[in-house]
């Protein structure tokens, strides 16, 4: 579900901090530094990184590819391989038998079993293509606001971490509390009342 989907989920953030000038180049450098790396044909189980909105499977960041006025649009891609447990079990049994036959022993040590399992998982990960999940990001640079097109906890956590590493800016989720304290026109008295508010049935 993304920006162009018929239905979408959106988590909104405040952006804390100031980007280094020139902005376009700073953003482009941040995106390129943490671009998604394909893990097909490689033993890694998962990968995360930025990709371009228009070409999520062949990321390319160039102007105007990600900047539309003061709005920056790109995507977060999370690639994951899911090796079925039964497949691991099958290859593990075959590999264990091979080791036992070669050594002439009846049993394998716990350490040997662990090594075989790791080997099997690596082998299967090499063959298994990763499943990509793409989540769009809309960054209203002047308004210091980001929309992330997913409410999934894991995807939001990946976004928060990667955004901070890429741009040295912190994302703060817009939740009832942060939305309230960021209302600029609140008076000091109203802010004080806000800090003392308690849920129904509780007293301060």
């Amino acid at each position: 579900m993304g920006l162009l989907s018929s239905t979408a989920s959106v988590t909104r953030y405040f952006v804390n901090g100031q980007l280094q000038e020139p902005i376009r180049e700073t953003i482009e450098a941040g995106l390129k530094k943490f671009v998604i790396n394909d893990i097909d044909g490689n033993p890694s189980e998962q990968a995360e990184g930025w990709t371009s909105f228009e070409h999520p499977y062949t990321p390319e960041f160039s102007n105007p590819g990600f900047m539309y006025g003061s709005t920056i649009v790109f995507s977060l891609r999370l690639d994951k391989k899911s090796v079925p447990a039964k497949l691991v079990q099958k290859y593990f049994a075959a590999e264990s038998k091979k080791r036992l036959d070669e050594s002439g022993r009846d049993v394998l040590s716990a350490n040997e079993k662990k090594m075989i399992k790791d080997h099997v998982i690596n082998l299967l990960n090499l063959k298994m293509p990763a499943i990509p999940n793409v989540y769009d990001v809309v960054w209203h640079y002047e308004k210091k606001e980001v929309w992330f097109f997913s409410n999934l906890k894991g995807a939001n956590e990946s976004l928060e971490t990667l955004f901070s590493k890429s741009f040295q800016l912190n994302l703060v989720r817009r939740i009832p509390y942060t939305m309230a304290v960021n209302i600029k026109s609140l008076t000091d008295t109203q802010r004080e009342i806000l800090t003392k508010l308690t849920p129904p049935g509780q007293t301060s």
Binding site: L4, T7, V10, W147, R174, I175, S185, Q190, P200, G201
Partner: protein, 176 residues
């Protein structure tokens, strides 16, 4: 500012109170809605509402689903002290219509359906389409932001304690 996890748990009730107030306002006083969107033609409860009563010994959850579902059970739950924790809304501004769900705990949007827009006919259209889509997302997001700001100011005022709360309670009790 509070740690975000502490703030999330401590102030989630504010989001739930906000949704409950939206429901009350839909049925009783739509003036705040028009103040936040002068082109507003409709704000209505959609096809889902979830209420939770944390005052009960064990938290009770009441879900109401369906396009034609009545909200009487929701009012009964309100009388017992429940708050709305999730709500589907139909929002119409001018001739454009949106439908979405909001969760009280984080006020994030889910199942957000936009009004129909054109399809991409060439690569050159992407920028126009994108900006159009962003505008269409902006509209309900800004409406809810403005409405929340209005609610917070009301919630922090003397008027809330002295009038609004008792009016909401009377409404919840109306057919009891």
């Amino acid at each position: 500012m509070l740690d975000i996890t502490v703030a999330y748990n401590r102030y989630r009730f504010l989001g739930n109170e906000f949704l409950t107030w939206i429901w009350f306002s839909i049925e009783n006083d739509t003036e705040p809605f028009h103040r936040c969107d002068q082109e507003l033609t409709e704000l209505a409860i959609g096809n889902r509402m979830v209420l939770e009563n944390r005052l009960a010994n064990a938290a009770e959850t009441i879900s109401i689903k369906g396009d034609t579902a009545g909200l009487e059970e929701g009012l009964v739950a309100l009388r017992k002290g429940a708050l709305v924790t999730e709500m589907n809304l139909v929002y119409q501004s001018g001739s454009l219509k949106w439908q979405f769900s909001l969760k009280g705990e984080n006020l994030s949007f889910s199942g957000l359906k936009l009004p129909e827009t054109g399809t991409i006919e060439s690569e050159d259209d992407i920028e126009g389409l994108l900006l159009d889509r962003i505008y269409l997302y902006e509209k309900p997001v800004q409406f809810i932001e403005d409405l929340y700001e209005h609610f917070i100011k009301l919630r922090l005022s003397e008027q809330w304690k002295e009038q609004t709360l008792s009016i909401i309670q009377r409404w919840a009790l109306k057919d009891a």
